[in-house]
Amino acid sequence: MKRHLISAADLSRGDALLILDTAEELASLADRPIKKLPTLRGRTVVNLFFEDSTRTRISFEAAAKRLSADVINFSAKGSSVAKGESLKDTALTLEAMGADAVVIRHSASGAAHRLAGWVRGSVVNAGDGTHEHPTQALLDAFTIRRRLKGATARGTALDGIRVTIVGDVLHSRVARSNVLLLSTLGAEVTLAAPPTLLPLAVDTWPCAVSYELDSELPKSDVVMMLRVQQERMTAAYFPSVREYSRRYGMDAARMAKMPDHAIVMHPGPMNRGVEIAAEVADSVRSTIVEQVANGVTTRMAVLYLLLGGTEFPEVTS
């Protein structure tokens, strides 16, 4: 593994499997009386969140604390950043505090890259603009593997599993990371979206593209719904929420067209009634709740593998 986790493309197939298998081991921690391991004792993990995201921040915080790391939370609101301190100066302050790892969420694509040039510790990208969110893709891959393979999951990848990702791909960092990671793990990925919400050069991505959702449903083992923001309507990406929902929303009727074993995923937060109906979100096929728990274990695996030793493990993949 490399020193930073900024893009899902940083992970080879072997790296990704190592993370998933490590997470598999760490998952049992949640059932123990003492939900803590001493491994990162004395290490400092800084959560540098320039965007509001309680869910992801808490996930990283729990992951770091369960490994006994010290956690410092830095959120942009009300801090010197709100008064105009630059990203670089914030980075230098963190350096002075001796951060071993910085988990950064920022509204600008490339912020994690830039930060990596200014700090000595490891940088974990928790979402930079519309670029990537690699730990989300890892927890999604982990969830898919567990759900679809159960007890035989350990040591295996996602070869042959068909995943359809639906929604605003153009603005989605979750989509970018998932396309990269899932295809690295051998899955067959299809994007389903209106043409306006697909990047111009999407034909160069390692996935298939469909403008129609219904034709993909019977062939999918996993359907991953992306959040669609209402603001996209004013920029003329689609005419109305109603039309979007009708053509690309996941409701009970569409869920019935999926194979029996197939699952529905969503990175959260959801727009109930827009991209996903309540009955789907609350159904047994939905992995939304376990994705949250899996987020903590996958992030523990990432932090352990980045900080738990001196250099980075060579993986013969």
């Binding site: 190592l18 298998d21 490590t22 081991e25 760490l26 049992s28 123990r32 009386p33 003492i34 803590k36 391991l37 001493p38 491994t39 490994l67 352990y304 593998l305 980045l306 900080l307 738990g308 030793g309 001196t310 250099e311 980075f312 493990p313 060579e314």
Partner: protein, 191 residues
């Protein structure tokens, strides 16, 4: 002289324990466990990955054969509790698999292939503490090669094997290595 009365092979990549000697050691250890725990009462065997795990299973099987007692058996990975993490790259984790009866109030017998500095066992004791509160913890090893760096000793030993610190002890087990043997070589695995 080896346990079987045959000459012990030399110290250049040849076996110091063969399959037969390993089998007898394990049989003896199984009997000793039964003796000291009043027939295996409340005993849980936890093997330390990698090779402690098949050894624990073999001991559980023998105990079952001899007394008809079913001793719960599992594995305890110690990677996260090691004291040398900062000196090497982060390692892949082994499996921690506790039997459903847990460890609270039990006599846990940790099982490993080689006892050397004692640091692995210290890590195992720490890991165990986070899992519950055993009544007692004992240690069974196939080979004790000396050179302890911590005040740790084994309760059950298959063979005492004096070594120099330059030497490497390799335990091969059929479940992992397709054969049973204990070998010694000077630094590095024999090919």
């Amino acid at each position: 002289m080896g346990a079987t009365g045959h000459p012990v092979a030399g110290r250049d990549g040849l076996a110091v324990l063969d399959a037969e000697e390993i089998r007898r050691s394990l049989t003896r250890i199984a009997h000793e466990i039964l003796e000291r725990t009043h027939g295996g009462d409340g005993v849980v065997l936890l093997g330390i990955p990698t090779r402690g795990v098949p050894l624990a299973r073999r001991l559980a099987a023998r105990i079952g054969e001899f007394e008809g007692v079913e001793v719960p058996c599992g594995s305890l990975d110690v990677t996260m509790h090691r004291d040398d993490l900062r000196f090497r790259p982060a390692r892949a984790l082994g499996r921690t698999d506790l039997p459903p009866s847990g460890v609270d109030g039990k006599t846990v017998v940790l099982v490993d292939d080689v006892l050397y500095s004692g640091r692995t066992v210290r890590a195992a004791l720490d890991a165990l503490t986070d899992l519950g509160r055993p009544r007692a913890v004992q240690l069974a090893v196939l080979v004790d090669r000396g050179h302890r760096e911590l005040p740790i000793r084994a309760d059950y030993v298959g063979k005492n094997l004096p070594t120099s610190q330059r030497e490497v002890v390799h335990v091969l087990l059929a479940e992992v290595d397709a054969q049973d043997a204990v070998m010694i070589s000077d630094e590095g695995r024999p090919s």
